[in-house]
Symmetry: C2
Subunit: 198 residues, 2 copies
DNA sequence: GTGTTATGTTAGCACCGCATACATTACGCA
DNA sequence: TGCGTAATGTATGCGGTGCTAACATAACAC
């Protein structure tokens, strides 16, 4: 850290505001415009020079979340040993997905828990990339399947498992157990008609 | 409607407040304590005699939502002709589930989009009943499968599809199309290992 | 250098959740 | 029938919020 000079113009307020917002999120607080400004050491109205309104702030945070989630998923794909079955691959992805939601619940809610405004092109891009990543995996695992439908189904499955663990169930359960349950759910779905779900 | 007498004591304020909150929701507004009081023609502090805080109001609304959703699901089950395959049954349930979410998005978010407080016993009961309903269907359709795991998987699938349609996708698509897509996703999942997803 | 524009500040509006003190009514009990 | 208590309403006020308008300062192009 270099010495901080207090100048009238901040330098890169937008980034500082986003960082402050992330801090708020990780601290379990809802990042309000004023709180974020306070944390960045700036007047309450300053953020409005960089974000039109609160939705815009939330949207920017969501974009970060989408990129982070995508990063976590590709990292998970990279960790899978070379000859991996569809079941192994999907389990790894789903576990990573749910783990992300549980580790950063506020961010996850920001990303998915409110109506997405299609106006924000950055947000559209970020969520589109996520969609594409999943689609590619699906076509690699199931070349003959209809890509859109199957990828919607599998994404829905992971997404639903994440939300159910986030909001509907007993919370402070060990993450190992959550991972096991998610993997079991995936496995069972995959095996449903093959041996009548043994 | 009988003549309304303006008395100091309302009579059944709690019910009136809930009704006002539902109206707010359907009107696309977020039901705040003060707004609900206003709508019920009562002072801003009055609701606090019936709901400890805003979370309590939200919780009460969520309970209604759970009961309504459960009602919609049993109604859907009732509409299925007698000899129904697992695929038909699950499609009907999932379509109903997603349809509920799309028709009442604000309520759905209230029910699932925030951390559930286990303190509210009514809420626990309502969501438990939903859980049981699904579990019963699952064991009827797949008697040999492990109930908990499979029901989690299928609920997760429907839940995820609902949320994805709610928040992640193009919104004003005809409900017929949504239903078709949901059904296709379910069908494809069920058929995954049986003929390689034709 | 100077005018324009970007980026800050201050002040203020209407709203919110919630607490406290007080008013009015309903109700059990003598 | 009357009275005390509890239930249920009101009035008021605090600190927080999103957002806007008017103003101040600095950066930058010419």
């Amino acid at each position: 850290m270099s010495t901080i000079e207090k100048t009238y113009h901040h330098g890169d307020l937008r980034a500082a505001l986003l960082a402050a917002a992330v801090e708020s999120l990780e601290a379990g607080e809802t990042p309000s415009m004023r709180a974020v400004a306070r944390r960045a050491g700036v007047s309450p109205a300053a953020p409005y020079r960089h974000f039109a309104d609160r939705d815009a702030l939330d949207s920017a945070l969501a974009v970060r979340g989408f990129d982070d989630l995508r990063g976590a998923l590709v990292a998970a794909l990279g960790r899978i040993p070379a000859p991996a079955s569809a079941q192994e691959t999907l389990c790894a992805l789903a576990v990573t997905y749910v783990d992300f939601a549980l580790r950063r619940p506020a961010l996850f809610h920001l990303m998915f828990g409110n109506e997405c405004d299609d106006a924000d092109s950055e947000r559209v891009r970020a969520s589109g990339q996520l969609h594409d990543l999943l689609g590619d995996v699906v076509t690699r695992l199931f070349p003959t399947a209809e890509r859109a439908t199957l990828s919607l189904a599998l994404w829905g499955l992971a997404h639903g498992l994440a939300f159910l663990h986030l909001d509907g169930k007993l919370r402070p359960e060990p993450t190992d157990e959550v991972a096991a349950r998610v993997c079991a759910a995936i496995t069972m779905i995959l095996a449903l008609n093959q041996g009548e779900a043994s």
